[in-house]
């Protein structure tokens, strides 16, 4: 057992069994997580990046002792999540975004104070922290507001403060900026970063399906899709894998029957993704080298497709995702809708 690791998982898996409503004997199995191996040292801000249904929440639930795994094991703060949940709980906290939880009839301060009490925090210390954290997240003027009177976004900020209030060794943030407007999301990201600057020995595991969030905020990112971790490294290293490729973004007029497959047939074109935009299309090209570009342009001209705008750009995590999964994240998300009847 390595005590320097805040979180460690070994071949962690989770299968949900769903019984059919009408015929109870008919069962369907959903593999939500499969052979997940992670080692997260203390002090790290670790990101889990993946589309809807990737298994992010499932992983967080297992690590926060809400859900039992169906295979493998996991340790949090050095303790086994199945056998020693009582050892883990005082050391962690969790916040889920995109939901409004809390006792609406209590004020912001009362809600937070109560949760601090459950963790055995002395009242005076709790109140001091509440004021400080509310100030830092920009909610101090609402301290005496009934939480039912808060907008969804402000309620989420209160919920985020609840997570930090108990000064957890390991904090789990499940899509903390989901549903927040741009400014509020920026507040929250800055808040998380600042907290870690002040408490460098604390660990944060954050899930997101925003590429930029993972890129900007996280020390290391695991890209997860359909329950499997496909890559795990710092954002810089993940992007560096693509550095030898040349990435171009070309805005064109209507594609005139052009498809990605036609372009991918050109030697030197590793990937071509065509997305319809209003009044035209966008072409995302991954070339082995700049020298493949003229061939692409001539194919476009043959089909009388006009180029409106051409940029060469740096790789992003989105490109990494496409490289690993074969399609952009927005498309990987569709899988779930197709599954459901």
């Amino acid at each position: 057992m390595n005590t320097d690791l805040a979180i460690e998982t070994h071949n962690l898996g989770r299968i949900y069994t769903i019984r059919n409503r009408r015929e109870r004997r008919v069962r369907r199995e959903i593999v939500a997580l499969q052979d997940v191996n992670l080692q997260i040292p203390r002090g790290e801000l670790f990101g889990l990046l993946g589309p809807n249904g990737a298994g992010k929440t499932t992983l967080i639930k297992i690590l926060t002792t809400l859900l039992a795994p169906t295979s493998g094991w996991a340790r949090v703060a050095g303790y086994d999540v199945v056998r020693e949940p009582q050892k883990i709980r005082p050391r962690i906290n969790m916040v889920s975004g995109g939901e409004s939880s809390g006792y609406g009839l209590l004020t912001v301060r009362e809600n937070l104070w109560m949760f601090a009490q459950f963790y055995g925090l002395p009242s005076r210390e709790a109140n001091r922290r509440i004021e400080e954290l509310l100030r830092r997240i920009g909610l101090e003027d609402r301290i005496h507001t009934k939480s039912s009177d808060l907008s969804t976004g402000l309620r989420q900020k209160m919920n985020i403060v609840r997570g930090f209030l108990t000064d957890p060794e390991i904090l789990f943030l499940d899509e903390p900026t989901l549903g927040l407007d741009v400014n509020a999301a920026r507040d929250v990201r800055r808040f998380v970063r600042e907290w870690l600057d002040v408490h460098p020995d604390r660990t944060v595991l954050l899930t997101t399906h925003y590429m930029v969030e993972a890129d900007e905020l996280c020390d290391r990112v695991a890209i997860i899709n359909q329950g499997q971790v496909l890559a795990c490294d710092s954002p810089e290293n993940l992007k560096r894998r693509l550095e030898r490729d040349a990435l171009f973004e070309i805005e064109i007029t209507s594609p005139n029957g052009l498809t990605g497959a036609i372009l991918e047939a050109i030697p030197g074109v590793r990937r071509a993704l065509l997305t319809e935009t209003n009044g035209g299309a966008r072409l995302d090209l991954t070339l082995v080298a700049d020298s493949a570009l003229p061939d692409v342009i001539s194919v476009l001209t043959e089909r009388s497709v006009r180029v409106r705008h051409l940029t060469k750009r740096e790789p992003t995590l989105e490109d990494v995702f496409v490289e690993l999964v074969g399609k952009p994240m927005a498309e990987a998300e569709k899988r779930e809708d197709e599954d459901e009847p």
């Binding site: 002792t65 859900l67 709980r89």
Partner: protein
């Protein structure tokens, strides 16, 4: 050990505070008082009217105080048993806090009991009001000097503890079931109303249902309360006449301990199942 009790006490104490905040969340205290009086009185009134119609208004018959007291104290079932179990559904579906409570370093059963305390207090108020109305307006016999106060208090304490344990069993079950069963508490309370001699002696039940009535601690509890308050008049019914007060207390105590153990195992098992199946933060709009 010491730490464990700290946790239990902390969970219970804060939950009591929260329960009271929720229960007394009436912007207008006057409205609150009126509401908590009208509801129990209305239900007692229905019973009285029904009794009057069926028996041609024979309110002097000892059956009447038997029924009236049974009904009044049965309100504790609704407040304590249902109150304790309701916390699960309330926290999960309404406040969406169940998962945050679950991962906090608290003892969940102690938390549930704490949430029930406020309901116990408002329930006591309802029982008191109903009894007062019965004594003042319906000539339910009540002579403070003749009441067996020690027996009454002992029965009340044991009875409330027993109801709280039954509430824990229901709460544990609620941990595992979906929202559309949210009336489970009310349903159980309704069924037990007929099975535990609250408004008629067990002899009225079909013979095959009677054993169930005898297995219910509420049956013995209501009998004890009646005996403590009414004295010999309570023995007008043969159901439990063969038992002395001491024996009844013993049975009630034994059943309370038994339900306490059942509650402990029910919680362990349901908690385990809920974690295995991922039901703890399940909400209906999933």
């Amino acid at each position: 050990m010491r730490r464990q009790w700290d946790t239990v006490w902390r969970s219970f104490r804060i939950a009591t505070w929260l329960g009271w905040q929720i229960e007394s969340n009436w912007t207008d205290p006057f409205l609150f008082a009126v509401y908590s009086m009208i509801k129990p009185l209305a239900s007692a009134a229905i019973l009285v009217v029904m009794y009057g119609v069926i028996t041609n208004a024979r309110f002097e018959n000892p059956v009447f105080p038997y029924i009236y007291i049974g009904n009044a104290f049965y309100m504790y079932v609704g407040s304590v048993m249902v109150g304790v179990s309701w916390a699960v559904i309330d926290d999960r579906e309404h406040y969406r806090t169940l998962k945050y409570l679950y991962i906090a370093p608290i003892r969940i059963p102690a938390y549930w009991l704490g949430r029930g305390i406020a309901r116990f207090l408002t329930g006591s108020f309802a029982v008191l009001i109903t009894m007062a109305a019965g004594v003042l307006f319906l000539r339910v016999p009540f002579h403070p000097a003749e009441v067996d106060w020690p027996l009454f208090l002992a029965s009340l304490v044991l009875g409330v503890a027993m109801l709280a344990m039954m509430g824990l069993v229901l709460a544990s079950i609620s941990l595992m079931i979906a929202h559309h069963f949210f009336l489970i508490g009310e349903a159980v309370a309704g069924a037990l109303y007929l099975l535990s001699g609250a408004i008629f002696p067990l002899e009225v039940l079909p013979p095959w249902l009677r054993p169930l009535g005898f297995a219910m601690p509420i049956t013995y509890w209501l009998e004890l309360i009646r005996r403590a308050l009414l004295g010999d008049a309570a023995r007008a019914f043969p159901t439990l006449a063969a038992f002395s007060n001491g024996q009844l207390l013993g049975i009630l105590g034994g059943l309370t301990v038994l339900f306490g153990l059942i509650a402990l195992f029910a919680f362990r098992w349901c908690d385990y199942q809920a974690r295995e199946r991922g039901l703890i933060d399940m909400t209906t709009n999933y």
